[in-house]
Symmetry: C2
Subunit: 231 residues, 2 copies
Amino acid sequence: MSAFPEAWREGIYEAIRRRRDVRAQFSGGVVPPEILARILSAAHQAPSVGFMQPWDFLVVRDPAVRTRVREAFARACAAEASKMPPEKRESYLKLKLEGILESALNLCVTCDRQRLKETPLGRTAQPDMDRLSAACAVQNLWLAARAEGIGVGWVSIVDPAELKAVLGIPDTIDVLAYLCVGPVTYFEEKPDLEKAGWAPRLPLEGLVRLDRWDAKLDGQWPELARALKPL
Amino acid sequence: MSAFPEAWREGIYEAIRRRRDVRAQFSGGVVPPEILARILSAAHQAPSVGFMQPWDFLVVRDPAVRTRVREAFARACAAEASKMPPEKRESYLKLKLEGILESALNLCVTCDRQRLKETPLGRTAQPDMDRLSAACAVQNLWLAARAEGIGVGWVSIVDPAELKAVLGIPDTIDVLAYLCVGPVTYFEEKPDLEKAGWAPRLPLEGLVRLDRWDAKLDGQWPELARALKPL
């Protein structure tokens, strides 16, 4: 099959449009194991450079482990706040930036940079392709979770070395993503940071160039320029 | 809306399952501008750390530019082949690894690491979150393209510095992904590298851990362990 039937295409585009980075809306409900298995399987079907499938998935349920992660977050958050310009610091500290304890479970996605190391297809000129592959796996998981009505929030305000210590992850394995996962009361219409006025949505037509960096579309491919404009 | 209706959910999972890294099946057809606009919009709706939306999209149609990129690929491929163990080198050189000239167009996804640099929300402890965000944008685009019947292939066997020179990309901007995009004659059932015996698909149940790296699932969450096993 080439192009998908209309309802399937709608499903893709609606998941992409309705996916949110969830922090404040976790309901306290659980994730049924069959749904967790489906979203992990979605992640595992991501593209990976040289078919190395560099990921592992560490499901974190234990409240004691999560509490230690929450403490590591608090330290990283304080450090980051100190780097914010004074006029932004106050709004930064008001933002809800994680749902580590309120979500049903946490999920640490790792990247084993040594996997298939003897045959480094596709990562000689671009050595971090393994990490980018694992990020694609996170995005697959995020979209599948949205379709299941499960919220996902990515916590990057935490020192990976602290995460590795808490979770017992070996030196040779990278922490790629630490996710909060669980049922939600609702999904926001817009990203939290857009809603809070932290930063605006950029107009897509300003981000598309043709053939060379300094060439804009207008005049050169007017049909595409028109199609990119918001309705 | 929380969980999606069945047909929408099917659409997500089928796109994830049927997405391929396309190299050999480009048909020579064009990508209509309205479809290109939809898949670029899918990319632009990806999650991004601190809502920085670090990406730009450079659409490459010019055959002269693509020929120079193809030459850069050939150099990187030769360099990578020399790193392969002898017993793998021959099969490496037989693989079709790009469709730069045969695809309808190429697409260079970049990452502007300076965007919103004054307010580095989420990238103090993990500085490459901007690159991982841009990788999520690529995955959104890839799935949307699959739903549209458009193939995408990610070429990472090319020196980013050479790409930047050919495309006139400024020093402060990273090349994140160089993609070949276009209609295809068909989509393969399995990844090319799995089909060619380059590497096997790893069993998912071996990649899932619970609470700590050295803890496997069996016994601790048997329902999840069962749900992860292939049918």
